[in-house]
Symmetry: C2
Subunit: 352 residues, 2 copies
Amino acid sequence: MTADHTRAGERRRQTDRSVAGIAEVARTAGVSMMTVSRVINDRPGVGDKTRERVRQVMKDLNFQPNTSARALKTGKASAVGIICLATTLYGPAVTLFGVEQAARAAGYAVNVISLNTITRATLEQAMAQLSQVPVAVVVIISPLSSSAESLRDLPGKLPTLAVWAPTDVGMSVAAVDHQHAAAAVTQHLLGLGHRTVHHVSGPAGWTGTEQRIEGWRTALEAAGRPVPPPIEGDWTARSGFEAGLRLLDQPDVTAVFAANDQMALGVLRAARVRRVEVPGQLSIVGYDDGPDSAYYSPPLTTVRQDFALIGERALWLALAKIGHSTPPTVDTLVEPELIVRETTAPPPATLR
Amino acid sequence: MTADHTRAGERRRQTDRSVAGIAEVARTAGVSMMTVSRVINDRPGVGDKTRERVRQVMKDLNFQPNTSARALKTGKASAVGIICLATTLYGPAVTLFGVEQAARAAGYAVNVISLNTITRATLEQAMAQLSQVPVAVVVIISPLSSSAESLRDLPGKLPTLAVWAPTDVGMSVAAVDHQHAAAAVTQHLLGLGHRTVHHVSGPAGWTGTEQRIEGWRTALEAAGRPVPPPIEGDWTARSGFEAGLRLLDQPDVTAVFAANDQMALGVLRAARVRRVEVPGQLSIVGYDDGPDSAYYSPPLTTVRQDFALIGERALWLALAKIGHSTPPTVDTLVEPELIVRETTAPPPATLR
DNA sequence: AAGGTCTACGTTAACGTTAACCCAGCTGAC
DNA sequence: GTCAGCTGGGTTAACGTTAACGTAGACCTT
């Protein structure tokens, strides 16, 4: 299934009037090219009547400014680059679209490079490719803090901003207060009467992972509860399933906080396999509020993050680096929100 | 969390030797600019020794050809554009990355525009933006056949190829044989002993929708079974849930084929709510084999499609339009594969 | 009225690359 | 020896845009 369209456009320019240049506009408007340029760029030094006339001619001739020529002359790029992990994980994908749409709204073209693995080598290659485009600034959407060393001293001279990279790599970005949210989850479960909360964490080396562990741990410690060792997953439902199986081998596990929805789904599956009732015998909380989590069985209690907003703010911060004026709220943390559904309840009386 | 990097790059060129031009290379190599240009573009007319010397100088000076200047002079673009629906649906997202990586492998930069809604107006605007980048060819990833009219006569002069658009808009593209796969699903269920199969379809106006309905219907008719009216969903788990509820109000429903995994998840949830056992009393099949479907409760029988391959082939077809040589297998259909897991079984004896 | 400021333009010369054409020397054929 | 054809180059002039500078007239100031 397909849509075809003109095979043209291989050889035009020069003789084709459909791509009029500034010169033709100037001629038909009876002004100099410089005046047209000033009109295009909304610069002063042109009278109102002249300006209007030039505008009209541009419209008539269907004039499109030539980005290449402008970039060549000014040495300034009108595109932003995005380097992202080629993952369909809900968070990164939504963030990608958030950055992209915000960039386009700000008048930039968007160049995307997706990487299957983020290493020093792949990052450098991607940066090199972007510097040829050329782009004015690069946003790296890398949920892996293992990429931190890769990020630390990228050789390129491009202004760069990484979403979700650890703080010590640079200055702050629109980030989510995972620590606070993880604490809220833990307190929610504790408030239901659970003695403690077990945690299925994300993989070490992913940024959100440490913060969620920290929030969960401090909430537990603040309540004077034992802190069981977290079990490390890899974001997949499979790893959640395996973690769930291991946890259910322990007799006293009544509450599990998984670091994303997919792993929570895996835990849910493990509970089903072991004939453990959710939420009667086991409470489960996820993280992300992906589009499906309301339809798990039972609907998942989880934490909603506004990934699109994160992307948008990241872009604004990136633009601020190259001297754009940006909205003032950009530095505030995005606060995630606990969504209580049906996978959490008080623990069974015997274990209360 | 962030990575900072040099604020430089706002004003350089001219005096900065880190961006050497062809002229400097020519000077230090002791040849003319034209010779350097020939070396860059691998054109004949340069002796082996000279060629090697120029190559070495380029490496030494860390020369990067200036894309803008080249595009300006040649009038040819070295980027492809992608217009896609801003959805985190598994299929479109993977396809996007497939197109992107194939394009980059072919030496093109990739410009992405994501659209929240695909209409005539948004498409035209996106095409206009891409034509300024400029891009050589545009790939539209639009799973909506409702965008067909929007696609039919796009005014721009850019070569365009749409993935998943209906056939009558243009020539063929790497596509999936949904009809065959849907028939296979139906036959699988019939083979288990079900009298008929109910279908929760995708929304009208999405391309895969009609084909899956067609495959399901013809398989049913070929077996001489009744064809119940399909229930239309919108790909979300919610719509699957509602469809499931409606289906379960009918006493004789034993098998449901949902047009994607999320809707199958919704049906699964409906079965749980109605205390209908899966697969004991109800068999369910999904479509897509998303990353989670193996961890639903029970693990979902579904159909796997290779979305990355679809994207790759779409790009090749697009490049073929602008005269690139492409692999010969590009025109063959991608065959999806039935993955049998635990949501399908013979119907209960009473309804057999 | 002479000088000083503005405002609204115009001229010139690039930015880095390549298409089109030119040229010098060598080889071989006659 | 001379002419055609090849090989390995070089020269020139753009591509469309804008920075930097120039200038002519209008409008004050004193």
